[in-house]
């Protein structure tokens, strides 16, 4: 709630409180007034009762006078009229008691100059109850007419009989009058009793009402005090609460003002911190600007100086080469310059202004920001682009010489390019040479291995030839040799030499560089590799377990190169088993076809390759073997052959395998070769 609303609320509460107090006071005063009226009403009822009682007494007296003074006709008439007057008054009084109203009673006075006074008594009938005294009295009052008439008749007869000197009738009439009058005191007494009952009951009622009213007045007074107190307390509390809130709001307002001033300063500082000229406008007049404006214009010391003399910076805009992008202080088809900029936000508008010394170019941008539904500000930013403009001009000059410079630079680049190609070729050649050397090294390594294998292969037949020849020589010296035995020995020796020849053939064919691509069965290549390495395996009691695929694994490629791969892996397995002194040593070799791939796995039980080097085993010149044994080329070459020549992949992992019912861990080489090798392989 705003302070104004709170103030209004405070005034409203005060007025409401005042009205409530007045209303409450009035309400209770009315209640008390009503009670006073009730008392007055009851008093009036009693007064009417008194009037009635007086009237009954008057009638009683006049009725008695009638007997005494009623000898003459005139006297009877006068008295009867008087009685009639009182009866009318009585009836009026009873009517007021029955229905309520104002009783007007003329009281005769024997004061000089004042013969009578008029008294008005107002009685309000408060409920619908029957007025018992009226019911009691009214028939008796009406009956008085008859009584007066009867008495008048009797009195007239008395006078008549007296005149006629009719003694008998006269006496009878007197008896009748006497008898009649004998009943009247009781009659009027009864009437008096009736009205006395009214006075008695009225008095009781009056006292009762007075007591009740006294209690009610006390109650009303207490209630009045209570409600007035409550109203005052509420108004005070609300007033204090609202005042407190207003004070609080004021404090907040002061705080906000302080913050606002700080913010203004901060905004001014931000504006002043801008290197460009920043102007805040309401669309027509300049509201605020940063100090850059007075830094630019020498003739002004402060922003206030500027704004006091110029409502708009546009006063300084100048024309430049009739360039429409340069804004001027003019009418743009019904729009002022700011509106024109705002309507064309994508155009790069500029202005040119003179600082006092020289002209400066500025890029000009305007942004409209709404600060409420209706109010807005326009922030105009002017960036000094004089240097850019100058640069552009210089650039235009430079452009003219640029082509010749480019040509010279192109030539330089061409020369550099040529040198680069040559250098690249040289490096490629070097690499090829290196590769050749590596291949050569690999071949030599393989040759070394081969020689080792040949040595193993030949050891047994040579030993057999030697022992056969020695045996034959001994038999001949002892002359115990038969012709058959000598033939048999020769045949054995020939058989051994044929085996040796065959071995040489095998190695030769292995070493042969079959550069031609032929179709071959991988199983055959594996068999040959096993054949070459089998002697080495036997020497170290290493058991080679093979599982060949039932179908041939036909591929296109170089079988000798692939056999080099298997030979490498088998020899590595053997070396690892020997080095780690694994007994018994096992090598498990499996060839199989899965989908369109041939898979060859070679698993040993030498314990596996340490984790820290397993990723490096295919790197060139990496070896775990002694310098004398390994070159670090074998697996690198194997990877090269499988990937480049067979278009396959070779991986290694440590694996636990179950061989002959026992679990062993070791390195497992997996070679995957696609069924269809590209023709260019």
């Amino acid at each position: 709630m705003s302070i104004t609303k709170k103030l209004y609320f405070l005034i409203f509460i005060t007025i409401l409180g005042f009205i409530s107090l007045v209303s409450l006071t009035h309400y209770f005063d009315t209640l008390i007034h009503d009670l006073d009226e009730d008392i007055q009403n009851q008093q009036n009822k009693l007064l009417i009762g008194t009037f009635i009682s007086d009237d009954i007494n008057v009638i009683d007296a006049q009725f008695s006078q009638l007997a005494i003074l009623g000898n003459s006709k005139r006297a009877r008439k006068n008295l009867s009229n008087k009685i009639d007057e009182v009866i009318i008054r009585l009836k009026d009084s009873l009517k007021i008691l029955q229905n309520g109203g104002t009783l007007t009673r003329t009281i005769k006075l024997n004061i000089a100059g004042i013969s009578s006074s008029v008294k008005k008594v107002k009685y309000i009938k408060s409920n619908n109850s029957a007025a018992l005294e009226v019911i009691d009295l009214l028939p008796k009052v009406i009956n008085i007419h008859q009584m007066v008439a009867q008495v008048n008749t009797l009195l007239a007869l008395r006078t008549k009989y007296k005149k006629e000197k009719n003694t008998k009738k006269y006496i009878e009439t007197i008896k009748k009058i006497k008898r009649y009058y004998k009943t009247t005191p009781a009659y009027f007494q009864r009437m008096s009793e009736n009205i006395n009952r009214l006075l008695y009951e009225g008095d009781i009622e009056y006292k009762k009402i007075k007591k009740q009213i006294c209690l009610k007045k006390q109650k009303y007074f207490r209630l009045k005090i209570f409600f007035i107190s409550i109203t005052i307390i509420i108004v005070l509390i609300l007033g204090l609460w609202i005042t407190f809130n207003i004070n609080k709001a004021n404090k907040e307002l002061l705080k906000l003002n302080k913050n606002l001033k700080a913010q203004e300063k901060s905004i001014k500082a931000i504006l002043d911190g801008q290197s460009n000229i920043v102007i805040v406008s309401d669309g027509i007049r300049m509201i605020q600007a940063n100090d850059t404006i007075v830094e630019f214009f020498d003739q002004f010391n402060t922003v206030e100086d500027f704004t006091s003399q110029h409502a708009c910076i546009c006063d300084f805009f100048k024309e430049y080469n009739n360039d429409p992008l340069y804004i001027l202080k003019k009418d743009y088809d019904g729009l002022n310059w700011l509106e024109y900029i705002l309507q064309n936000p994508h155009k790069d508008f500029k202005v040119i202004m003179n600082s006092g010394h020289d002209d400066h170019h500025f890029s000009i941008q305007a942004n409209k920001k709404y600060i409420s539904e209706k109010d807005f500000i326009i922030i105009v930013s002017l960036n000094d682009i004089t240097a850019e403009i100058k640069s552009k001009l210089e650039l235009a000059d430079l452009n003219n010489n640029l082509e010749s410079i480019i040509e010279a630079k192109t030539e330089e680049l061409q020369q550099l390019n040529n040198n680069l190609e040559r250098k690249i070729q040289e490096e490629v050649d070097k690499n090829r040479q290196k590769d050749q050397q590596m291949i050569q090294q690999s071949r030599f390594a393989a040759l070394g291995e081969m020689i080792g294998n040949i040595a193993h292969q030949w050891r047994q037949p040579l030993s057999a030839i030697s022992s056969t020849a020695s045996g034959m020589q001994l038999q001949l010296e002892l002359d115990i040799a038969s012709k058959e035995e000598i033939n048999k020995s020769y045949e054995d020796i020939i058989g051994y030499t044929e085996f040796l020849t065959q071995t040489i053939e095998d190695f030769r064919s292995f070493m042969k560089q079959d550069s031609n691509v032929v179709e071959f069965d991988i199983n055959d290549v594996v068999q040959k590799a096993i054949g070459i390495t089998s002697a080495g395996f036997k020497d170290h009691d290493i058991k080679l377990i093979t599982h060949f695929s039932e179908t041939p694994l036909k591929v296109m490629g170089s079988p000798s190169k692939l056999s080099q791969v298997f030979l490498n892996i088998l020899n590595n397995a053997k070396d690892a088993i020997v080095e780690n002194k694994i007994d018994p040593g096992y090598v498990d070799l499996i060839t199989k076809q899965e989908n369109d791939q041939y898979i060859i796995t070679i698993q040993d039980n030498a314990g596996g390759i340490p984790k820290n080097i397993i990723d490096k085993v295919f790197d060139p010149y990496f070896t775990t073997k002694h310098q004398s044994q390994g070159t670090g080329i074998g697996l690198y070459m194997s990877k090269d052959i499988v990937e480049k020549h067979m278009n396959g992949i070779i991986t290694v992992e440590n694996k636990i395998a179950t061989i002959e019912g026992k679990e062993f861990s070791g390195a497992c080489f997996i070679i995957k070769i696609p069924q269809q090798i590209k023709e260019d392989v």
Binding site: N127, N128, S129, A130, L132, V134, I135, D136, L138, P139, K140, I142, N143, K175, K178, R179, K182, T183, P185, A186, Y187, Q189, R190, N194, L223, F227, I230, I234
Partner: protein, 254 residues
Amino acid sequence: MLSNIIKFIVVLIFFSNITYAKQNKPELLFYCGITMVKPMEEISKIIEKRENCIIRIIQGGSKDLYDSLKLAKKGDMYLPGSDAYIKKNKKDGYFEKSVYIGYNKAAIFVQKGNPKNIQNLDSLLDEDIATILCDPNSGSIGKNTKKVLTKYKGKEFFDDAFDATVEVGTDSRNINQALKEKRVDMAINWRTSGFWKENKKYIDVIEIDEKYAPKKKLMLTKLTFSKHKKIVDKFMQYAVSKEGIAIMKKYGFR
């Protein structure tokens, strides 16, 4: 504050409702001969409680009462001291239904201990005895006195007795009052009132032969202009019930 205002309003409404309820209780007017006022007041209180109503009794002489109801044309019940008023005025058409609730019988009332040694009605003409008789045109006992005395020794006897009185009463109550205040020595009144607590220590009752003073029926009568006929019926039912009869008996009307 708000709750207090609400409480105040509720209290105001509550009290105003009570007042309203009081004001709106049905109010019955009962024209009752003065002799029977006591038992009728007792029954009225019971009926007021049962029927949540107010019964206002106008008491007086039976003829005066009839004149009042005839003029006012309002009221619910009428109980004169004698059924003669019912019979005589039935033609006016104000009576609807009557029930017999007891009887009255005239008797000679004398000062306690009967110092004047009064024995019969002849004492009414004794010059040494101050008497009071009821106005025959006012109360039922006045009318009945005239009948009794006329029956006893003729109209002349009644006129002589009436002429000989020192006072004329309007109803049974002021006759008893005259005796109690020793203004008179002898009276004729409804015998039951002579036995009431407030009277019996001042008054002795001398019976009158029933051939002169027969029992007069007390007929409780519903008025035609009654606005509360159901309550009147309830009143009448109660008056003739065992409880009602017991009350009437207590005051000597049975």
